[in-house]
């Protein structure tokens, strides 16, 4: 009994020491975070994201993870020419939307555009910043990169579970000379909500609507297949499991050297994924019709060169700016990205917004971003 009482006292001693340390840490934490409340803005309910104290030479952004590498590269390049820093938190599109609605950041970023009604409800302006897209990747012995051809109906059928084997007559007919096994098609999709899935399911709905009936969203109820977490999860599953097909972001497939397919686009042409075919989709889309919200789903656009599974990543900003200098700083950065960021984008396998499109943004959308009725840019 004596020893146990002693060891209890030792435990209490350790607990007391821990409590003191915890109290000290909490006090320090409170001191550190109190200045973020100075603006009186409500903190968004986002885990892992703390708004930084505001200063005029730092632009704050948060949101989509897909364009994050590019925004970070642009941020560091832009800092070299202007001295303005970019602090971009890659917390997901949902978090970016919450953050800009709560006004804790200068801009939010989302892979899926918001509709006009939601923009109006929160007083937001929206414009595209960068173009990317999905490619289909397969794991088939003896099939080379860009060799396999698929029509929209076949892609829809495979992901719907109605086309189940690789030697399906429809696939064989399209691909003479390609060795197709008689094995089952293993479908791999994203298990997490993502802009990649948003683009892909919009493509299926738009291009193969009579076959694909599972709807379009960042996360859907998949009829068949297994889920992989993130691009890396889908890629790993496709690379591990023979006879599988999945969809990943173009940049990811290119950098990991996966086997991609050709697709038949809206004009009936066979196209391979490339920077040029994504740019063609962005250039051929009717952006004027998307005003004022710029809500644009870039899938299945016309044009002989167009890659059909393309999407834009969007920036969200408050129309009514509390601080003209901060709003202008952010728009200056985006202007630099539009006019001087194309090489940086290509280097990371992203596609820059075509001149005609960003011209439209600067003439039609940016003038609506104001302080006391005066546009903050130029």
């Amino acid at each position: 009994m004596k020893t146990s009482a002693r060891s209890w006292r030792l435990i209490l001693l350790v607990a007391a020491a821990l409590a003191i340390a915890a109290t000290a840490l909490t006090a320090a934490g409170c001191g550190g975070s109190s200045n973020t409340d100075a603006g009186g803005t409500p903190a968004p309910a986002i885990s892992g994201f703390t708004p930084q104290p505001m200063s005029a030479d730092t632009i704050l952004g948060a949101g989509a993870s897909f364009p994050a590498p590019l925004y970070m590269k642009w941020g560091s390049d832009y800092n070299g020419v202007s001295g303005v820093k970019l602090n971009y938190q890659s917390i997901g599109s949902g978090g970016g939307i919450s953050a800009i609605e709560a006004k804790t950041v200068d801009f939010g970023a989302s892979d899926a555009p918001l509709e006009q009604a939601e923009l109006e409800a929160n007083g937001l302006a929206q414009f595209p910043m960068v173009v990317g897209g999905d490619v289909l990747v397969v794991n088939l012995d003896g099939v080379a990169d860009g060799q396999l051809k698929l029509t929209p109906d076949l892609v829809g059928g495979i992901f719907m579970g109605t086309v189940t084997t690789w030697n399906d007559p429809a696939i064989v007919k399209l691909n003479p000379g390609v060795q197709l096994p008689s094995t089952k098609i293993n479908v791999v999709h994203r298990s997490d909500g993502s802009g990649t899935t948003w683009i892909f399911t919009h493509y299926l709905t738009d291009a193969a609507g009579s076959i694909w009936t599972a709807g379009a969203d960042k996360e859907i109820a998949w009829p068949v297949g297994v889920g992989g977490k993130g691009n890396e999860g889908v890629a790993a599953s496709v690379q591990q499991l023979s006879g599988s097909i999945g969809y990943v972001e173009y940049a990811y497939a290119k950098q990991t050297g996966m086997t991609t397919t050709q697709l038949q686009n809206k004009d009936g042409q066979w196209v391979k994924p490339s920077i040029a075919s994504f740019a063609a989709a962005a250039a051929n889309a009717d952006w004027k019709a998307s005003l004022p919200s710029m809500y644009m789903v870039l899938v299945n656009q016309p044009g002989a060169e167009t890659w059909p599974i393309t999407g834009a990543s969007f920036i969200l900003m408050q129309k009514d700016q509390a601080d003209a200098a901060r709003g202008k700083a952010a728009l200056e950065f985006f202007n630099w990205g539009y006019t001087s960021g194309a090489d940086g984008a290509t280097a990371l396998d992203y596609v820059a917004i075509p001149v005609g499109v960003y011209d439209l943004v600067q003439k039609q959308v940016w003038p609506t971003i104001t302080m006391s009725g005066t546009p903050v840019w130029p």
């Binding site: 607990a15 007391a16 969203d217 996360e219 859907i220 297994v226 591990q240």
Partner: protein, 337 residues
């Protein structure tokens, strides 16, 4: 225990009078209430954190509890497009993957623990014991990656094709279901990797408990002419019974809540209850990890928090069952443990 006595020479009750006499003791008597207060605060903070956590979970899941009712627990339609959030598949997947893990890990852990304590040379036991403890320190994401690059292809390309040629392959629960995708990413694979993750915990605790079996008791067994097996089986395991159950529950708690490795390996199919161990499925923790960060529908966020609450309650229930069981075993073995 000798070191404890050197560091804490005063016994708790005695020195009160002495403390008032000597100035050195005065300082200590001031320290006592401070420690008492701090310790009480710590204990209270723990209780507040516990109840606060439950409160926050209930509050944030209320929109789903009131809006979706019992459909979260009773339906399998998980479809953000239609705003339906039935998570029965996640519940089923959680229990099935945990079951597979425990069926593999518990016997293996017991055999290893007995081996380390009773059969091998102490030097070997030390080396193997350290290796097992290091297994516990590996982050779960590493298990997920090893799983996806090594275990998934093995199960898909070798194990499942072989199993399906044996008579076992046509048994219900093993025979592939409608969602079968080759068996690599499946409840079974997640369970196998979970087994390796909980193995070190169960082994280490069981080993420590088995070590506490008094040498004299075992020697008495040998003296009666028992074989090594009889001593292990009838004395060691009996004596360590309740401790081993505790070890199993530690492993169970970890398996139920494990997130990353399972999210990588279980196949992440949210909309059907697995008919076979080799069908893909999902678990509560991996469903939350997969979908929470991009969930924009308020009801979906709330439904995910409700699932968190359910997982929390499941673990609490298992803890309570473990306590009840331990107490019962202690009573029947005369309070030894």
């Amino acid at each position: 225990m000798s070191t404890v006595e050197l560091e804490a020479p005063r016994s708790p009750g005695a020195p009160r009078g002495a403390a008032q006499a000597a100035p050195r003791g005065r300082r200590i008597s001031l320290g006592d209430p401070i420690f008492q207060g701090l310790a009480t605060a710590c204990g209270l903070a723990l209780a507040v954190a516990m109840f606060g956590l439950t409160g926050v979970l209930v509050y944030n899941s209320w929109p789903a509890i009131s809006g979706l009712g019992t459909s979260v627990l009773t339906t399998v339609a998980w479809s953000p497009v239609d705003h339906q959030y039935g998570a029965l598949a996640a519940l089923a997947g959680t229990f099935l993957s945990t079951l597979v893990a425990m069926v593999i890990a518990v016997p293996l852990a017991l055999v290893i623990a007995l081996l380390l304590v009773e059969l091998v040379h102490p030097a070997v036991a030390r080396v193997v014991g350290t290796a097992i403890e290091m297994l516990a320190a590996i982050p779960s994401i590493i298990f997920g990656m090893v799983g996806i690059f090594v275990i998934v292809p093995f199960i898909q390309d070798r194990f499942v094709p072989w199993l399906l040629t044996t008579p076992l392959g046509s048994l219900p629960g093993i025979k592939p279901g409608a969602q079968f995708q080759g068996g690599g990413l499946s409840i079974f694979t997640a369970g196998v990797v979970l087994a390796f993750m909980v193995l070190p915990f169960i082994t280490a605790v069981s080993r420590d408990v088995l070590r506490m079996v008094p040498q004299v008791t075992k020697e008495a067994g040998y003296g009666m002419g028992s074989t090594t097996w009889e001593v292990m089986h009838k004395i060691s395991l009996r004596y360590a019974n309740s401790g081993i159950v505790g070890a199993v529950f530690i492993g169970l708690g970890r398996a139920l809540g494990e997130t990353m490795a399972v999210a990588f390996l279980i196949g992440s199919v949210y909309t059907s209850i697995p008919r076979s161990l080799f069908d893909p499925g999902t678990s509560i923790a991996s469903l939350i990890a997969n979908t929470f960060s991009e969930a924009t529908d308020k009801i979906q966020v709330s439904a995910l928090i409700e699932l968190g609450l359910i997982l929390f309650l499941i673990t609490v229930v298992f803890q309570i069952l473990a306590q009840v069981w331990l107490r019962r075993v202690q009573r029947s073995t005369g309070g030894r443990a």
